[in-house]
Structure formats: C-alpha cells, structure tokens
Chain length 445, copies 2
C-alpha cells in the first residue's frame, strides 16, 4: 500500500441488541438489554479490545415498532456515548443527529461537550430525517420535502461549525486580572434562511478543533452535502463498481466545493455473519432473521421489496431485472438502499437466491468463514475502492468478541489494521484535517 495511506478503518454499529431483527431473542442474551447502558459499554469495550477505530450509534427520534423486531433506536446517543466515553479510551464515537429536529445551538453545544469529555473523539453523522413518524413527534407540520431538508441541513452544518470555531484556544497559563478579552470568543451573528443565531457558543473550542463530520446521503443532494462538509462518508454500496462510481461522484463534488477529495474517507456498511464453515454461517444467517431455511430468507426479501405486488413469474433462481428496483430523487424515503440493489443487479447477473446472501439489512453481507469474511473486507480496501467498513454485528455484544477472535487476526496478518491506538484525537488517528489549520494536509491520492 502507498506509505501515506491510512490503515483500514474499522467502525462497528452498536445499535440495540444487534443488527439482526431477532437479536433480542438470541440464546444466552438478555432480551431487554437495549435499555441497559452496560450493554453498550460492554460492546464498546469489546470494540476497543479489537482496536476498532469507531463505534457508531445511528438514530431515529421515534419508536420503530415491528412485532418481531427489537427497537433499533432508544437512548439518546449524545447522553449514551458520554457515559461510555468516560469509561472507554481511544475509540471514536460516531452518532447520528438530525438537522431537521434539533436547534443548532443546543446540538453544537452537546457535541462540543462530548468532544471535550472524550478528548476529541466525536464524529457527528448528519441526517436530515425522512420519516413522517419523526415529524409527528415535533409538531403539526408535515415533513418538509427533500430539497428543503437539504438546504436546511447545509445551513445547519455550516452554522454549527461556525459556533464550534467561535472561540480561540484558551491558553493553559492563567490570565492576569481580566479573564476575557474581545478575541476570546466571538459572536457569529448568523442570519440565514432557516436560522438566526448570535453566538458565541458557551463551550470553548475542543481538543480536535471540532467534531469530525460524517454523512451518508445517496441522493444527489446527499452526495453534495457530504462532498461539501463530511470527513467520513457512510453509504450502502453492494458492488465494487458502485463504490468506485460513488467515490468518483464524491470526488467531483468535493472539487466543486474547493476541497481536497483525499480528505474524504469512504466507509460502506458491511453485515458480518461468521461460521466455522460456510454452511454453518448460512444456518446462522437464517436463524438470526427468524427463518428455518434459505426459502424463508428469499420469501422475506421478496415480501420486503414488493409486498403485495410481487412481479409475476419472479423465479428465485433466475437473474433479477435491475428495472424491478425503482426510485426517484423526489421520494421522501432515502434512495440509497433501493438504488444499491439496482446497481448490484445491473453489475452482475444475480438471482434472488444469491442476492439474499449478498445483502442484509440493506448493507453488503459477508457470510461465511473468517477467511471468507476477511477476504471480503480486504478485497475492496486493497484495491482502493474504500477506506474501511462500518461493520454490522448480528448479536451484540458477543458478536464483536467473535469478530475480534477470528477476523481481526487475519486483517492484522495482512498488514491492514494496527495492533494498538496512536494519535491523541480521532482526527490525528484518521489523518483528518484540523479545522483550525488552514494549511492543506499531505495529499493521500
């Protein structure tokens, strides 16, 4: 690998009882551990043992109910991660917060507080929220359209960055008599389309300048927001060609915004299901999702994608027509998942039976032996298509220990991941540009 290249970035999602719908019912686990913060603490401790770079909690400020599935989002991520950050060193904390249902001052302040408490380890995953169930918890107004939500998101993120940078770094030496002078903290006097905020923030600038920004948009507006503001981009990418294309689109938009495309790290999601043999991993895959065999997985896939209007003559063993997956940029729901299906079906001839072993929970699936999983991870990374992965573990917390034991040694043997932590902040560790420093970072390309 090129000498300046970063190690393979490993992030792991810590939501609820695990990524599998029936993870709440897994043998040997406590079903309601999603409301026990020690469950998240233990998961983060295991991720630290495996020298993961990042733990990730996505968010959705509404109760998601499905009679057989766990609630995916419960505790507020800023509050949860603060308790975890107090107990677990080194690792980064990536959390989702909405630009549609927060106020910029309060959110900037909570994230800055967490960045101080963690010693500069926070990543804010910017979402604009798409679900009418969320809107119904925040007033009588319906969810705005995507264009408005993204304009608001852009203004929100810029404003939050301005608040974070409204202080100079306070000196360690005590001032003489005056605690403040005019330059210590500055008003930002923001007057925009959506927000009026005077500032300054009441939290001084943090250990890594300000939290790292991440984004996961797949729509044109989402990619543009990511290219303008994000250091880390999450995405649902099911085929390497899609990853290469996506990276190219990001790069083009980053250049338009005057940024160095080498400053962006791309981390697609990857669901990992391990077995001693591939057959054992397949049985685990079926059981974790409440099915007795492969036919159940296939039926579930067909039901989720077409529900009542299953296309006539769709054969589980015949290649899928990419045109079966439709979306448009105007839809309220995210375009990423369905678009990634279409791209996969277009890139190779794939049957429903094959597809259910390639995708889980909307993300790329690696199901098999530790060597097969490690190869899947290393393949895209070695070719430079991606910078790492956000791993989805079916059953938390034990699935992380299993990954540490069986997969991490193979990644280390390949020289892809380090055996310990370096850098005192997340920006240092991921070689990200410090927002206080206008000098460009050394090029990575």
């Amino acid at each position: 690998m090129p000498p300046e290249r970063n190690h393979l970035i490993l992030s792991v999602a810590l939501n609820s009882t695990g990524s599998a719908a029936r993870s709440w019912a897994a043998a040997g686990t406590k079903w309601n551990r999603f409301v026990d913060w020690n469950h998240y603490l233990r998961s983060a401790q295991l991720a630290h043992e495996g020298v993961f770079d990042i733990v990730f909690v996505s968010d959705h400020p509404a109760l998601q109910r499905d009679n057989t599935s766990r609630p995916i989002h419960s505790f507020d991520p800023t509050v949860l991660f603060s308790a975890v950050a107090a107990a677990v060193p080194d690792i980064g904390f990536l959390l989702t917060a909405s630009t549609s249902y927060n106020s910029p001052y309060n959110l900037a302040r909570r994230l800055a507080t967490l960045d101080h408490i963690s010693g500069g380890r926070v990543i804010w995953n910017v979402v604009s929220s798409f679900n009418p169930d969320i809107a119904a918890n925040f007033g009588a107004a319906p969810l705005p359209g995507r264009a408005e939500r993204y304009r608001r998101a852009d203004e929100f993120v810029q404003l939050v960055k301005d608040l974070w940078l409204s202080w100079d770094t306070p000196p360690d030496e005590p001032p003489d008599e005056q605690l403040w002078d005019a330059g210590t903290a500055r008003r930002i006097d923001h007057r925009g389309e959506f927000f009026d905020v005077t500032g300054p923030l009441n939290v001084p600038i943090g250990p890594q300048g300000h939290p790292v920004i991440s984004q996961a948009g797949a729509s044109a507006a989402g990619i543009d927001l990511a290219a303008k503001h994000a250091d880390i981009v999450y995405a649902s990418l099911l085929h390497r060609t899609s990853a290469v294309d996506y990276r190219a689109r990001l790069r083009d938009r980053a250049l338009v915004h005057g940024r160095d495309p080498g400053d962006l790290r791309l981390l697609p999601g990857l669901t990992v299901i391990l077995g001693e043999t591939r057959a054992e991993a397949y049985r685990k895959h079926e059981a974790l999702h409440g099915h007795r065999g492969e036919e159940g997985l296939i039926a579930d896939f067909l039901h989720r994608n077409w529900a009542t209007d299953l296309p006539a003559g769709l054969d589980p063993d015949k290649p899928l027509d990419p045109a079966l997956f439709t979306w448009d940029e105007g839809q309220q729901r995210p375009v990423g998942f369905v678009k990634s299906f279409a791209e996969l079906a277009a890139a190779e001839e794939i049957t429903p039976r094959q597809l259910v072993r390639r995708v889980e929970g909307g993300h790329r699936l690696a199901v098999g032996t530790p060597h097969e999983v490690a190869d899947t991870i290393l393949d895209w990374w070695s070719s430079g298509a991606v910078d790492g992965f956000n791993i989805h573990i079916p059953v938390l917390p034990d699935g992380i220990a299993e990954f540490n034991r069986h997969v991490v040694p193979l990644l280390r043997a390949a020289g892809a991941v380090p055996t310990g932590y370096d850098g005192s902040t997340l920006r240092e560790r991921l070689k990200l540009r410090d927002p206080r420093n206008p000098e460009p970072a050394p090029s990575r390309s």
Copy 2:
C-alpha cells in the same frame, strides 16, 4: 424530629470553578478547569464522600461574559452528568433545562436516557429562561413575556411526563415470539397550545418511574408551576419568615392542584464560606470576590443593586429601607433575588454592612466557623422551615472537601444527616411519590 421526617437534604452546586466570581483565580487551582470534565467528576466524587444527596448544575444556553468572572455555564448538563453518573454511584443529578428553548420529545428522551444510565437518579430543574441573550441563540423572535413562557412551561412539563409514562414497565422475562403488544407503548397524541407530539417515547419507562421535577420560581406564576409539578423547590430565601411564608404559599397552591403539600421538598440556596475564626472567614469572603476589605464588598453590593443611581444618603451603617428594592410581576428578569432582599430588609433592621455578610450570589450566606455554619444550616431545618439546602461552594472542587471535613461531622452529630446512602433510586432516598403508583404516600405533615 418526627419519626417519618426525611434527613436534612444536602445538595451542592457544581457550576464552573465555584460560586465565587474569582474562583477561577484561586491559588492552587487550574483557571480553565471549567472545561475539564474531570473537574466535575472530582467535585461529584467529593460530594459522594460527604454523602450529599444531590449535585446540581444550573444552566444558561448562552455565554455569560464578565471580564473578571468565570463563565458560569458551559458544558451541556445532560451530557456532562452522563459521564459523571457512569463513574459516581448513589448521588442524585439535578440539572436545569429550559422549556422555552428545547423540544419536549428530545428533552424527555435525553432525561429518560440519563435516568436509565444513572439507575434512577435524575432531577430536572424546570426553567422557562428569562434572558434575551438566550433568545438570540434560538431565532429572530424576542423572548416571550412571562405569562406565555409559564403557560408553555406548564404544557411542556405535562407533555414530558406523559411521554415518560407512555410505556408500561417491560417484564424481565423474555416475550415468546412477539416483542410488542398494543399495551407496551402508547401514543400520547398531544395537541396543545404550543406543542403537537404523537409519541410514544422511544425510551421505556425508567427505574424511578420518571425523573424527579424541581422548580425555582418566585413569581406567582413560578410558585404555581412548582406547586403543580415539582417534587423539589429551590428558592432564594434570606429570612426564616420568608421561608415559612413561601412554604405556606406553595402549600396553598399544591392543594388547589389536588396535591399533598407534604410531597414537596423545599431547598433554598446557601453560600458557605468557612474559616477557623469568623475574622478569617470574613477575609476569605472579601478575597474570593476580588475585594481587599469589607468596604469593597459594600461598594460592590451598592453598585450591583443601584449601579449609577445610588440613592442619596445611603449609609453603610444605617438600616436599609425595604422600599429601595423594587420589582414587579411583569418584569422579564426573575423576581426572586430582589424580592428576597426586600423581605429581609422588612423582617429585621439590617444595614448594608450587615447585609453583605448575610447574602452572596443572591443566596443566603453562612460565613464563619464550622460551628456557626452548621448552626445556620440546622436552625431552619430543625424548625421545619425547610427540608435542606442547596449549598454553593466558593471554590470547586476543594471547598467540598473542606465542607465534608469540618461541617458534615457536626450535622451528623446532630442526627440530621446519614452516614451512608440507602434507597436504590433518588425517589426512594428522598421518600418521593412514584408516579406509577396512584396511592398517596404516607403523610409527612
């Protein structure tokens, strides 16, 4: 004391570097420790060693700048206390959050998360915010008038309670196949003057039902809000007669709202400055506030209250006319502090020279030897005027250790405070009614 009476409740404020304006500059301290979370952790650990019931962080989402004073409010209290709660057992966490500049769903969720993480130790101090500097960080609209803010606060608090109680207690035993049924979590479908929230909350009901509520209003609207919703009432009360009167007003309003007045705990603020002799304590008092002697304290008091229009002929050694302190219920700023001055001047003949040793930071001051301070604390409590005090410590964290060493043993010797913690939640410890239990608690009167 009556057998059912609670112990003397001890709460301590942990804001910034301490309650003294020049606490940032105190010898042997780090001036910028207000942005080091270990500073708050250490303070909370010391409060735990002293078997305090509660640590308190008040809040103000705007930067308060005074060239010689520390910023009183910086870190977001929900995020800060989560890190501290992970590390310090038993003690309660009281934090201020505004009903004017939060959304009910987000705040209900953050407080519920913290209540789970802490095992049922959270108290929400409800404020409606009064400062135009805050309003300027949350939009172009000016601060609403008091009447509107309190109507909004009332609706906000009721709505947050409804969200907290939108779940039944989940059973420990795992469900069979279905994770949910219709009764597990319920929509609240709130449609009010200020808010529309569908619910349910996405955090299950917590270990103490829901967080304890506190309030500190001194205006008629504030007292009514406290009497309707609060379990704990903070207040600025400078004279015992005022405390007795205030309690009577609270009691009357509680009855109007159908509540048992015995369910309310009254905890006025008390600033404590200790010395081996009273003279030593007096010199400390002067130095902590940046003055070389008593004349400086007096000049500062006069300046703060009358600034440029000092009443002619005001003699530091002649009793103050209570009519010098004026307020009206329509003013934007809190009425509590100035009202308490007027009540003190009316209740006894007090000169400016005497008054500066009776009040500090708007709260009652106990300045003297440990015995004098302990007597001040025990006096009001023994007579039943109050249930305890919220102690303001001039220099954090060391002032708490000093209080533990010199004052706590005297309170223990008087049988007023326990030597350890009992009760698994804060409600149990303070004998507060559980909101899940409609049965009235045993009467305390």
